[in-house]
């Protein structure tokens, strides 16, 4: 009998009603963090009464649907004629999932695992064959909004933040961090180009056709966002349970001196990259070890896990083709790799079971409308001015926005914020640049504007520098953290104004509106590090 996870079921109900975890939390009377933990599968409601509250909040009235929720949450059903026996007192209280063995997925083995009678030679042979089989797996039905639920990284958070930065970790752990657009992704170098959805990318990874996905595009196109969505979907489906990898990073700000300080990149060649992987896997390091031994150790350590090896910013590494070749030696049906790069690969440059996916600029008006509406909804709490845009997203304005930004999502977000603050005629004054050149020009302009805003503006600049410095620290930048900074500088009264200035001019991400959890995009961090 197939048991659906409570988290998956809850996500479906929320999706069907276009509601978020925060909304549910408010209706049910729990914290947003608690609701997010339900969605991620980390915990389930502590009592059956809570499950009933959730059903009520979601306007679920059918007994079968309520029973399904109760069953998924681990309780006896108690609604309608199918009511089962009453449990003993206290027996309905679920134990802490961290060590509640009854909640462990007995039916979901990490590798082929059926146990035929040990006396059946035929059955044993069938089992062995299954163990060695590498054939294509049947297509799995993937929910349309797979990846909606945030991933609870727990013990993996520090290691991932150090490797990829808090911005990417925030994408993994935050709900509503992605909007799917119809024409966003394009497969390989095929002509004519075939657009696909991220679900199709996930499907390819799950079907064993592809073990390595290379996401290629210029900066600001949303590679990290798409990568995070794919990873979240894989976690939600139970197809991933561990993330490894690293990002090439070359500079941080020394917070004491306010100066850029070079640090070692996470990796500069293939051996360096695998050194990092071994470190993340707790394997001893050795200098005199063959590449074959390297890959064998990694595969042996990861056997039975469902791993994603994420390689970010591959273009910054000289021996990128070596890394991709080494990855191909490591990957398997249960060890997949996701690579982002700004530099295009030709299809002949990468090994089999690798697929190249380009991120396309937004050229379609309807996609642009969907994207901007999502942006307004996502960021309106931090930047209330964005709501002004809602009523003026007509075809002409959208067309003009696409034209001046080249359809680059990050540029569209930043320009949209400026339009909200000024007016649509702002677009006429934009420099005739595109891509990174325009992005840097906008950052420069915003930085100068901060300078002109006096003490609050200069304080805002320092905040940005500090956030950039903390990008790989694994440390959450909360409101308390910010208050501490401003208090130490004896400028606490400037905090609200400085934050407003930042929200209106830059894309500042805050993953927790109550306590604060701030991050900035990698491009902004790079820009700030140069100031």
């Amino acid at each position: 009998m197939h048991h659906i996870r409570f988290s998956t079921l809850l996500a479906r109900h929320l999706e069907a009603r276009e509601r978020s975890a925060s909304w549910l939390a408010r209706r049910v009377g729990v914290s947003a963090a608690t609701a997010n933990r339900w969605l991620s599968g980390e915990t389930r409601p502590q009592t059956p009464e809570r499950v009933i509250d959730i059903a009520r909040a979601l306007s679920i009235t059918e007994p079968e649907a309520i029973n399904e929720l109760l069953t998924a949450a681990g309780y006896a059903t108690s609604i309608g004629p199918q009511s089962s026996r009453t449990r003993e007192k206290g027996a309905n209280k679920p134990l802490d999932l961290d060590w509640d063995i009854s909640s462990l997925p007995e039916d979901r083995a990490s590798e082929p695992s059926s146990s035929p009678s040990r006396f059946s030679i035929t059955a044993r042979w069938a089992n062995l064959r299954r163990g060695f089989r590498r054939g294509k797996r049947p297509a799995l039905a993937i929910p349309r909004h797979c990846g909606h639920a945030p991933v609870r990284l727990q013990e993996q958070t520090l290691a991932l933040s150090a490797a990829f930065g808090v911005y990417f970790v925030g994408l993994l752990e935050r709900e509503n961090s992605f909007v799917s657009l119809q024409n966003q992704l394009e497969m390989g170098d095929a002509h004519p180009a075939s657009t696909i959805a991220y679900i199709d990318v996930v499907q390819r990874l799950l079907s064993n056709e592809t073990h390595i996905i290379i996401l290629a595009s210029h900066g600001g196109m949303g590679k990290s966002t798409v990568a995070a969505q794919i990873i979240r979907c894989l976690f939600e489906l139970g197809a991933a349970d561990v993330i490894l990898g690293d990002s090439a990073k070359s500079k941080i700000i020394d917070a004491n001196l306010g100066e850029p300080k070079a640090i070692e990149p996470g990796y500069s060649d293939a051996i360096g990259f695998f050194y990092r992987l071994r470190e993340q896997l707790g394997l001893p390091q050795q200098t005199r070890i063959s590449p074959k031994q390297y890959t064998r150790d990694i595969r042996d350590r990861l056997y039975g896990r469902r791993a994603i090896i994420f390689v970010d910013n591959l273009e910054t590494v000289a021996a990128r083709d070596q890394i991709v070749r080494f990855l191909s030696a490591v990957v398997s049906p249960n060890i997949r790799a996701l690579v982002t790069t700004r530099r295009a690969f030709r299809e002949t440059e990468y090994p089999g079971k690798t697929a190249l996916v380009h991120l396309r600029p937004i050229t379609d008006i309807s996609d642009a409308a969907i994207f901007l509406r999502w942006h307004i909804e996502r960021y309106r709490h931090e930047n209330p001015l964005l709501t002004r845009l809602s009523l003026s997203l007509d075809e002409a304005h959208l067309q003009r926005l696409i034209q001046v930004t080249g359809g680059m999502p990050l540029l569209m977000q930043i320009v949209a914020s400026n339009v909200a603050r000024l007016s649509w005629s702002y677009l006429d004054d934009l420099p005739k640049l595109l891509g990174d050149a325009l992005l840097n020009s906008l950052y420069e302009q915003a930085w100068r504007e901060l300078q002109a805003e006096g003490r609050a503006g200069r304080a805002a600049q320092r905040v940005l520098q500090r956030i950039a410095h903390h990008t790989h620290s694994g440390h959450r930048i909360t409101f308390d953290t910010m208050r501490g900074w401003f208090k130490a500088d004896r400028r606490l009264e400037l905090l609200p104004q400085s934050l407003t200035l930042l929200y209106e001019r830059f894309l500042i991400v805050n993953n927790d509106l109550e306590q604060g959890d701030f991050a900035i995009t990698p491009s902004l961090a790079e820009f700030v590090s140069r100031q």
Binding site: I101, E106, S110, N127, Q154, P284, G304, H475, G484
Partner: protein
């Protein structure tokens, strides 16, 4: 932290370091709450002290942050390892025998936790000698006791038994510290298959640990061991609550004792294998793995987790999986210079 480019950074800011130590010592701090800028304060201070050959400053830093070395989550981090190493050298140069003895003992503990038992014995023996010179017999005895654990891990059970026997003769019956040698005695009895006696010894250890102030981590460890002994007697319904209680105790110190959490999860996982739940065991062993692998170098526990996974795969008739896990087990043991022949003997003794 003041953001002031003009700040004089030529002296060590001990006030800031004291504040940092207080913050790091807070009960609810988890590794994800550690700020790289804060670590770099400690790192910078240590670098400055070394550059200026200020051995007293190095020792002072070690004393200030030594509590982090006692908790087993962060000892693998480079900053802490560097601090430990340099503090020992500084104490030697200063001929500060008291601190040197303390630092060597702590180093021994950390090496033992990681699985470098031979190196750990060296540190413990040096600490023992120093404490004896300093006329601190109990401290000396504690370090000598730790060598028993190391000898046992290296397969020299007879030596370990002799040490434990001597120690138990020298420690008062009502001394709560007695729980430590009793626990090791229980392990040795378990190793020999004398499970009823092992259980008795472990229950006595548990009772002694429960009398120690702030001894709940000791209790958690002993509960996991008791669960293991009960499981080996196939008294699974009694064993399971021991594991759960151990994890519940550790949950009160989130992120501080990851190695202990992993250790309990590993033992619990082994019981699940015995009770015909290999998939559940693999899931729990994965959690144990995730609990320790980011903190570096806990090879001793890692190979045990991998070996348990191999056994789970055998139960699942997944021979390729079992082989891979055996292979990585041997790889990790080679790093620790552990005899794989001894492993084979232990496995045979366990199953037959």
């Amino acid at each position: 932290m003041s953001f002031s480019p003009q700040e004089d950074d030529m002296t060590i800011d001990w006030d800031a370091l004291h504040l940092l130590a207080q913050k790091l010592d807070s009960a609810d701090l988890t590794p994800t709450g550690l700020d790289v800028a804060e670590w770099s304060k400690l790192d910078s201070a240590l670098s400055r002290a070394l550059r200026e050959r200020d051995d007293e400053a190095v020792v002072r830093l070690r004393l200030l942050f030594g509590f982090l070395l006692a908790r087993d989550t962060v000892t693998g981090l480079q900053t802490m390892q560097r601090l430990e190493r340099e503090a020992i050298e500084s104490a030697k140069r200063l001929e500060d025998w008291q601190n040197l003895a303390d630092f060597l003992g702590a180093q021994g503990h950390n090496l033992h936790r990681k699985g470098y038992h031979e190196e750990a014995i060296e540190s413990f023996e040096q600490a023992y000698a120093l404490y004896t010179q300093l006329d601190q017999p109990f401290e000396a005895l504690k370090n000598w006791f730790m060598t028993a654990l190391c000898h046992r891990a290296l397969g020299d059970r007879e030596k370990a038994q002799n040490i434990i026997r001597d120690i138990l003769q020298n420690v008062d019956e009502h001394d709560p510290w007695r729980g430590n040698p009793l626990q090791v005695k229980a392990w040795l009895l378990r190793d020999e298959g004398r499970l009823e006696e092992a259980e008795q010894a472990m229950r006595a250890a548990l009772e002694a640990h429960a009398q120690v102030a702030d001894g709940d981590i000791l209790v958690a460890g002993a509960l996991a061991d008791l669960g293991e002994i009960l499981s080996m007697q196939r008294r699974f319904t009694e064993a399971e609550p021991c594991f759960r209680q151990s994890l519940a105790i550790l949950a009160r110190h989130p992120g501080q004792y990851q190695r202990q959490v992993a250790r309990t999860q590993w033992k619990y996982g082994e019981m699940l294998i015995e009770t015909g739940q290999p998939n559940a065991a693999l899931t729990l062993l994965a959690k144990a793995d995730d609990a320790i692998r980011p903190y570096g170098a806990y090879y001793d526990l890692l190979w045990r987790i991998e070996l348990a996974r191999a056994l789970a795969y055998i139960k699942l008739h997944n021979l390729p999986g079992a082989w891979r896990k055996f292979r990585i087990t041997l790889r990790l043991r080679r790093e620790l210079n552990l005899s794989n022949w001894i492993l084979v003997k232990q496995m045979l003794r366990r199953f037959f």
